[in-house]
Symmetry: C2
Subunit: 494 residues, 2 copies
């Protein structure tokens, strides 16, 4: 989830000032409403060292009535606390109904800092995750609003901040050996955080990822997340006659949204000569690797998504051109038929999964649930929100069974799409490729962009990553797909 | 869960005939309703070998329209199936909406037979449990009715049945090496089943335990369980305006209920001399063990529940008489006060848990949730149904932190209770012990008995067992409590 974040996000001082005043007023109002409705709220701050957790908690408190909240700074367990189950100190510190408790790091310490520092057996780790999920489910089942914020900065920014803290006498004491160690082993510690996020990003207690390089940006995003979580609890408490399960989605302003797609450098390209040369080499490689996969009985699942006319078909064609057709299947995904509709939405994809040694390439995938079904209202809010975890769980089952799983998003910009649509319409041989629906979907570009960004964040994991393919230049896109697949297979065969 | 089952349950032929006709009619009707309402149903048969799964499936099919169901006999994975994630063969075999699928053993094979036969790492096992829970949650979230039946017989009965099968040429082939191995290592295989039941007994897919020594009894109980699960799905589909989360409880006829309490032999007793002699020795022992617990930093949690006037106070007094008062606390549990009511119901018990090396004795416990709160309607059906897992999870956290956890149920019969109530009323020094509420609770004896039986089954685990104490004779009861505690501590200190 983390590597997809755009940590260059900033907010101008003027925009900040404009927004923060009304956000503070709204949070204050919501605190009073929650008190009245006896809704308890827990806000957990996690994230990398020096990401600004303390400072952001201070910002958040600006808006709150001090009689109604408590802040818990969570340190290493005391000798006393070590004598209890690790969740004991959190169970005993849950807020009373109507109050807000804020945690400066939280019950996740166990599976983050403590895991990083100590040896922990696989069994203990599995038990800790299971206890944490049970803790959160029990509390939210009982009506707790649980806001989990993850503040993200990169290794370089972290180093800069730690150094700055060191320079100042007043703050130097805050920088510990352990902080430096985590900065040095940043990628190891990040992997631990990635795994934690994947295992605990549930529909009842989802993670809110906060780009924290710019403090103003982070403050506004944190306020927005907290406000929306509290708001939906208040609305549900006021309208219990509505379906209990229906939840509002968390929606950020355009400028607070994740911006993975807009980061893609669409100017990347190859000349025809470069393309031909690379293509030949990569196709030869993949032909050999494909045989090796078969002998080693490794299954491969490749998913292709992207804008209409993004170039999925062309990329799949180049990928498979020299592969032995007995060892792969391309599975095109259309709207579900009647039989498929009469089953769980993942059923038809389970049917199509490759057996060991085989490759299945999905032209559109199960991610339709969190794109078209979300946007067109073919499923409920609750259903698509739940789907991130359902999909992660399914891919996890595949990975545990030994599969290589990669998902490609073919990215083009809106102008390029229009160019391609028009070209298709004018070319008699390509006319079949373009329908009215394509034009209609195009009108919903912004909605799709938001949904895709959220999907990429919530379902990209180290074991089953999303790869955004810069697709304005078809040559570049096809080579990137082939290169990615070749690299992933080579890594596995090592 | 299993060791508490009364496997001597039987049903007379006449009673059976009378019941089965109407049950079959009702199941047929429900099948048609589910078809109409497009509700899919999965019925999984698990349990010990030769418990009669095949036969009982045959009985169940009697009532069903063959055009609406399918039966899957789940064997060892084929070479083909081994090439997929282990849940693949079940994902691809889920029934269409409106149809019923019956599984003769199921996706639990992985964590039962396969675990018993093969070495599996702790990590693989944890992943299998997590995949199974996710599978079941995804399906039930999507509207699947999931009935999980566990057919239970004991080792002796199993041996008898296997031998009988062997004798007959027609059936001898059905008895395999593996069956005999599981019969020989029955207690090991049972422990594997216990762990499975504990980890997968969820509110969305609870286990139905079926005493299967007597085939007629089992058939009627299975029909009843299936009917009630389908019925509540039909009712919820018909009345969606009611709270989605509110579920009807599964209720069995009096004669189908678990009968743990009625099995207790209340004639057990000691003479005063026997009592005094044993008491002295046990109290000396516990004094020493208590010190050892402190040095070894082992926490102990003892919960006392039982009928009013069951003798909890007296037993606790004898237990603690010679213990160092700095090392234990007796925690009496009354109705929650306002602060406690403003928190999750388990919060106040977490507060009181012992630290390492200490003993906490609870006089009444968190089990109030599934007894008085259930019966008096102080919480919703959904809430007390969810509580079995919540409580198991909490006790599991304690056990994982190294605690000894034992729960005592002090059992007396209704006559003995009346005798004690009357005695209390007539004795001026004991009058404070008896209130009108005690008499009112007594009127609900049968309801309590049902709730207690269910509680004992669903929350007795090898790591945190329930011990039913035969309490008509106070001497006997006190000695049994002391003996149990001494034995558990000695086991741990080994």
């Amino acid at each position: 989830m983390l590597e997809k974040m755009d940590l260059s996000k900033r907010m101008e001082k003027e925009t900040y000032k404009e927004k923060i005043t009304s956000l503070q007023a709204e949070l204050g109002r919501l605190q009073r409403e929650c008190k009245e409705l006896k809704i308890p709220v827990m806000i957990a701050f996690e994230g990398f060292d020096a990401a600004g957790k303390g400072l952001q908690i201070g910002e958040l408190l600006q808006a709150l009535d001090p009689r109604g909240f408590e802040v818990h700074a969570v340190k290493q367990e005391t000798e006393e606390e070590k004598m209890y189950p690790f969740l004991w100190r959190f169970w005993t510190k849950i807020p009373e109904k109507g109050r807000i408790a804020i945690y400066d790091t939280s019950w996740y310490r166990r599976v983050l800092v403590e895991r990083f520092e100590k040896k922990m057996s696989e069994k203990q780790l599995a038990e800790a995750f299971s206890s944490i999920c049970s803790f959160e489910q029990q509390l939210t089942d009982d009506g707790m609003v649980l806001v989990k914020l993850f503040l993200c900065i990169d290794q370089k920014e972290q180093k800069k901040r730690l150094k700055k803290l060191l320079k100042n006498k007043e703050t130097a004491w805050r920088v510990t050996e352990a902080d430096w160690k985590r900065n040095k082993d940043f990628s190891k510690y990040r992997a631990i955080n990635e795994e934690m996020l994947k295992k605990t990003d549930t529909d009842y207690a989802p993670w809110m990822l906060i780009e924290a390089t710019d403090r103003r940006f982070a403050t506004v995003k944190i306020y927005t997340a907290v406000i929306q979580m509290m708001k939906r609890a208040v609305e549900r408490a006021k309208a219990p006659e509505q379906s209990v399960k229906q939840k509002n989605a968390i929606a950020y302003d355009k400028d607070l949204q994740s911006s993975i797609l807009s980061k893609a450098d669409l100017s990347l390209s190859y000349t025809k000569e470069e393309y031909k040369e690379k293509l030949r080499k990569l196709q030869d490689k993949i032909e050999k690797l494909h045989g090796e996969l078969y002998r080693r009985r490794i299954p491969v699942v490749l998913g292709f998504e992207g804008w209409d006319a993004g170039g999925k078909g062309g990329a799949i064609k180049r990928l498979t051109q020299k592969m032995d057709p007995r060892g792969y299947v391309v599975h095109p995904t259309a709207s579900p038929n009647d039989i498929e509709k009469a089953h769980h939405y993942l059923w038809r994809f389970w049917q199509a999964m490759p057996k060991a040694g085989h490759v299945t390439i999905f032209d559109r995938t199960w991610y339709g649930r969190v794109m078209v079904e979300r946007i067109e209202g073919f499923c409920s809010t609750e259903e698509w929100q739940r789907a991130y975890k359902e999909i992660n769980d399914m891919e996890n089952d595949l990975v545990n069974a030994g599969a290589i799983v990669i998902k490609f998003w073919l990215q083009i910009d809106k102008d390029e799409q229009e160019r391609r649509f028009t070209e298709r319409q004018q070319n008699p041989e390509k006319q079949w490729k373009i329908t009215d629906e394509d034009w209609r979907n195009r009108e919903k570009w912004d909605q799709y962009e938001e949904a895709v960004n959220e999907m990429l964040i919530r379902t990209s994991t180290p074991e089953a990553p999303w790869v955004v393919v810069e697709g304005n230049n078809k040559y570049y896109a096809r080579i990137k797909v082939l290169e990615t697949v070749v690299k992933a297979i080579e890594e596995r065969l090592k």
